[in-house]
């Protein structure tokens, strides 16, 4: 059955506009991608508080830093590739070193950028961002979580990186969901294996565990939207329970969620961890769906892999 999917980018743009109404210190910056990132929704409502710096991502980040110096709360958007890559040093040396109140909402993260190919598929952004002191890193999984993560970023002082998917995503959480930055959530209890994930791969993992159930495997699913600071307790507790951990992410297996989990478990409760994501390689062109399949991130591929692990 086809699911109804929502554009999380539109959710981002609309949430910004709502926040902008309530707080005149919210300003938004973009680098010539306001239609793609959907910051145009805010721009239309509050043109005087929207700044398009053109195709200049370094200037984008440091201009936001300057606005933060005057007490504004800048939300900065461009593609994850250019936000985290092109302007990494501006983020590191100006925004994070000075601990400025800048929110980087980067769209088009991961392999699901699709047809544009490897040059536009940021598979390293979470790794790059979480290695910087003072930075909070959030990867929401659906519209509800995206909205709440944006609202949290606006209310929390300090630099935040939020990865917003290019693809439209099905609803996972209902209105009762409460995003808690310090907590990872066990979405499904299980005893045979822990599957730790976030972002666009959460829905695939949820579908995958149904397939695993048919094979008699009772998997636990933990959603970790906040990669940094990581909720170590929940990760360790799940590992203690199942003794076997798999991480799944739309990102390189080097430096992202999988690495963060390994860092915590190796020091606190060493169990075998299998990281699933893209390997040490670049992406390529294709539809988002085809690429998810090709790189082994769809529910059926995940199920095959996990069955193999448990054999």
């Amino acid at each position: 059955m086809e699911r109804v999917c929502k554009s999380v980018r539109s959710v981002y743009g609309n949430t910004l506009a709502e926040l902008g109404k309530a707080n005149k210190n919210i300003v938004v910056l973009d680098a010539d991608l306001s239609c793609s990132t959907q910051t145009k929704i805010f721009a239309k409502e509050f043109p005087e508080r929207f700044f398009n710096v053109g195709i200049a991502e370094q200037d984008l980040m440091t201009t936001a830093a300057g606005l933060a110096c005057t007490g504004k709360i800048p939300f900065v958007s461009t593609f994850a590739m250019f936000a985290s890559g092109r302007a990494w040093e501006q983020i590191r040396n100006t925004i994070c070193y000075s601990n400025l109140n800048v929110k980087i909402a980067a769209t088009h993260g991961g392999i699901t950028v699709g047809e544009d190919g490897a040059s536009h598929q940021a598979l390293e952004d979470i790794s790059l961002m979480r290695s910087i002191p003072n930075m909070t890193v959030i990867v929401p999984a659906d519209s509800t979580e995206t909205k709440q993560a944006i609202e949290y970023a606006a209310s929390h002082y300090g630099p935040v990186y939020i990865r917003i998917a290019r693809t439209s995503l099905p609803d996972i959480f209902d209105a009762s969901y409460k995003f808690t930055p310090s907590k990872a959530t066990v979405i499904k209890e299980g005893k045979d294996i822990s599957i730790l994930t976030n972002g666009e791969t959460l829905i695939e993992v949820l579908d995958c565990v149904k397939m695993l159930e048919d094979k008699g495997i009772n998997a636990e699913v933990v959603n970790i939207p906040v990669v940094k600071p990581l909720d170590k307790d929940t990760v360790i507790a799940s590992a203690k329970k199942t003794k076997r951990v798999v991480t799944v992410e739309n990102h390189s297996i080097i430096g992202g969620l999988g690495s963060a989990v390994c860092e915590v478990l190796s020091e606190n409760y060493p169990v075998k961890v299998t990281r699933i994501g893209t390997n040490d390689e670049f992406g390529q062109s294709g539809s988002a769906k085809e690429l998810m399949e090709f790189y082994g991130l769809t529910s059926n591929k995940l199920a095959d892999k996990i069955i193999g692990i448990l054999k």
Binding site: G54, C69, S98
Partner: protein, 278 residues
């Protein structure tokens, strides 16, 4: 009509510059590291700016008008010794603290840190970022209806960074006439003359082509420095003051010598320098 600076003012500025130069050298010698060349080339401008123009509240946030202060961003953060010396002179902190420069636990970091020292507007050190930060500050001040100026101090070698020109376009596009930038044109960078490493050429024409108001001055002539900053106050465009300076100015053996970009004077060298700066 441009206000003139009096002869007695100039005499006083000369005395202060000599004192600041001595302090810079003592700090760098004491730390056994630092950047004397580019600190000495910038002293005279910082002296005039901080003592004659910059609206400042060294007492900090407890002053209700703190928001109305002018903002200063040292984009060439390696000239930190010069900045600290002039800030101490202006009462931001006690002069004794200058001797903690570059020492473990000091607020006076090798490159300015706004986290260690809140009197610093924003951390700098990595070149090519200050002007762009300045654009953001200028936009924020404009949104708040504040008339404060944003002074950004850059090096000439720094203009080799592409990000500088992103910011130059930004300031012109947004008509940020509250920005007054300086280029410390001492013509030297670590590896040699700017023109041999990567020709900077005519900075004035470059900025003009990007839509800026430009002023060229002798960066060691107090009258010219004063007049330039004064005339930039009411510009309709962002202003850049391109200051012809001498790297290592005031110390004979440091002047125009790139070897003194980032080297501390030893005891004998310090003594000779202090003698020259009496």
């Amino acid at each position: 009509m441009i206000n003139q600076i009096s002869e007695s003012d100039i005499k006083e500025l000369e005395t202060i510059s000599k004192k600041l130069r001595r302090e810079v050298l003592i700090m760098i010698h004491n730390a056994n590291s630092g950047h004397p060349g580019g600190s000495l080339s910038s002293i005279d401008i910082l002296n005039v700016l901080f003592n004659k123009f910059l609206k400042k509240y060294p007492e900090g946030k407890k002053n209700p008008d703190y928001n109305k202060r002018d903002r200063f961003i040292l984009s060439k953060g390696h000239a930190s010794a010069a900045l600290y010396a002039v800030m101490a002179h202006c009462g931001y902190f006690r002069e004794e603290e200058l001797l903690t420069f570059r020492k473990l636990g000091s607020r006076l970091q090798g490159h300015p840190s706004s986290v260690k020292m809140e009197e610093i507007e924003v951390s700098t050190g990595s070149l090519g970022q200050g002007l762009s930060i300045g654009c953001g500050v200028a936009l924020g001040l404009r949104l708040d209806g504040l008339k404060s100026k944003v002074y950004v101090f850059m090096g000439d070698g720094e203009t080799e960074e592409g990000s500088v020109w992103e910011a130059v376009m930004n300031a012109a596009h947004n008509k940020l006439n509250n920005i007054i930038a300086f280029v410390d044109r001492n013509r030297l960078q670590i590896d040699g003359s700017t023109e041999s490493v990567k020709s900077i050429g005519n900075i004035k024409l470059k900025f003009e082509a990007f839509g800026w108001n430009t002023i060229e001055i002798d960066g060691h002539n107090f009258k010219e420095i004063y007049k330039a900053i004064e005339s930039a106050q009411n510009s309709e465009k962002p202003t850049v003051i391109i200051a012809d300076t001498i790297k290592g100015k005031g110390v004979s053996f440091m002047e125009n010598n790139p070897n003194w970009h980032g080297k501390a004077p030893n005891k004998e060298e310090l003594e000779q320098a202090l003698e020259e700066l009496k």
